[in-house]
């Protein structure tokens, strides 16, 4: 793998220079590319704060060796909204339902909920809990997060 190498993030080709090849995708996103929406907490896959989509697949970016993700399509929380200033349906629902407290887990949750609602716009409580079972939130007790997911799903079903 040549150094520098290139990553395609949110539709943009980004050159990663002066990096150590042992760096995780999480580290490269935050420290090399300045995309700090993806959060760094456990670095062992326990918390999903660093969740991103790689070729559309929900993945913990801390467990990806960045250099191996060259040529793949990486979508971070910054790439989910339709436009620069627009919140996505999921983000809007989180704000509206008060599902954000300290906010640290929120980006990972937003990415995971996007992933869930892509596959299932009528999730049961069990579906939601299962889909978010890897996302740790230490503030909310998850009740408002559940409400936000159902609210976002309803919005999606109504086609707006």
């Amino acid at each position: 793998m040549p150094d520098p190498y290139s990553l395609r993030v949110n539709g943009v080709d980004c050159e990663v220079a002066d990096s150590d090849l042992a760096e995780s995708l999480l580290f490269v996103l935050r420290e090399r590319l300045g995309l700090t929406g993806t959060k760094n907490a456990c670095t062992e896959g326990e918390c999903s704060s660093c969740a991103v989509l790689i070729d559309g697949v929900l993945t913990c970016s801390c467990l990806v060796l960045a250099a191996t993700a060259a040529d793949q399509e990486i979508t971070t929380v910054e790439g989910l909204g339709d436009g620069r200033d627009e919140l996505s349906v999921v983000q809007e629902a989180f704000v509206h339902e008060g599902a954000v407290q300290c906010g640290f887990c929120t980006p990972g949750l937003i990415v995971a909920v996007h992933d869930l609602l892509e596959a299932n716009t009528e999730p049961s409580d069990g579906d939601v809990r299962e889909a978010l079972s890897g996302n740790l939130c230490r503030c909310t007790g998850y009740g408002r997060i559940l409400a936000a997911v159902h609210s976002a799903a309803a919005t999606k079903r109504s086609g707006s």
Partner: protein, 288 residues
């Protein structure tokens, strides 16, 4: 780390490993990256195999299931593999969380060779043959000859895990596991049980209760003689309970940060009893 090769085909992966036989193979990253992130490991050479299409293949035949080393836990749960190897799907379902299951692979579980690797008891109970390829060609071996100690395999330098080939017996399969919660749990004790109504055998293997993945062979033979194979009557509570005790005798657990030896031995007995009752409930059993 001085170089990272991203292999796009089996040939490329083998070539890279022939060139650097001491390279570390990286599949889903759910084990290796944890160690790299913590600074516990710093491999000089890495060969990434997550994008090798040949390793993602799986197939189901009448008596045999072949699972490529790159097949993820999510794929074990969501494809026709789940019907062909139900215990494998059940084990996959207990691993981590959706993003972990999207990344982690059967080959990675084998390569890490942790006693708590959730697919490993299933492979043992399904008489898996592990297929590896390397400079000396292809080798096949049972799980006992592949996992030779705690996190130790018999892989030779330059070898790559290609697939596992599993039996597909006629009968129920169960995988059960104990941990402090349902999601994101590393096993404190695990058990796979497979009924084979043609061979009239029961096969039972244990996880996280020994250095390797023991089969409870004495208990298997004992219980096979006490099952009503012809009429499909449910196993009695007494037989199921004694089976549990006999399976527990095959465990050699230790005290560690996840559990105690005494609890693990108790848990394995409970799991064995429960799995047997499910596999041989009244009138059921051979419809799987």
């Amino acid at each position: 780390m001085s170089d990272v090769v991203v292999a796009r085909s089996l040939d490329e992966a083998q070539e890279a490993l022939a060139h650097q036989p001491d390279a570390t193979v990286l599949a889903g990253g759910t084990d290796l990256m944890v160690e790299i992130n913590r600074g516990l490991r710093r491999p000089r050479h890495v060969v990434g195999v997550a994008q090798v299409p040949e390793l993602h293949r799986w197939s189901v035949a009448d008596n045999r299931v072949v699972v490529g080393a790159g097949v993820t836990y999510t794929e074990m749960m969501t494809t026709a593999l789940a019907d062909a190897a139900p215990a494998l799907a059940q084990a996959a379902r207990t691993v981590g969380s959706p993003p972990i299951r999207n990344a982690g692979t059967l080959g990675g579980n084998l390569g890490t060779a942790s006693p708590a690797g959730d697919t490993l008891p299933v492979l043992a109970a399904l008489n898996a043959e592990i297929v590896v390829t390397g400079p000396d060609g292809e080798r096949r071996m049972g799980l006992d000859d592949f996992v030779v100690g705690v996190k130790q395999t018999s892989l030779r330098p330059g070898e790559l895990i290609v697939a596992a080939e599993l039996d597909r017996p006629r009968g129920r399969q169960e995988f059960l596991k104990i941990g402090p919660r349902n999601a994101m749990v590393i096993s404190m004790a695990g058990l796979a049980l497979v009924a084979d109504h043609d061979a009239r055998t029961v096969r039972c293997a244990l996880g996280a209760v020994a250095a390797g993945i023991p089969r409870a062979r004495d208990a298997e033979v004992w219980v096979a003689e006490r099952i009503d194979w012809d009429d499909g009557a449910a196993v009695s509570d007494a037989v199921a309970d004694e089976f549990g005790q006999r399976v527990a005798a095959a465990a050699s657990p230790i005290d560690d940060h996840r559990s105690t030896a005494a609890y693990r031995r108790h848990a394995v007995a409970v799991l064995a009893t429960r799995a047997l009752k499910r596999a041989f409930a009244q009138g059921g059993g051979d419809d799987a």
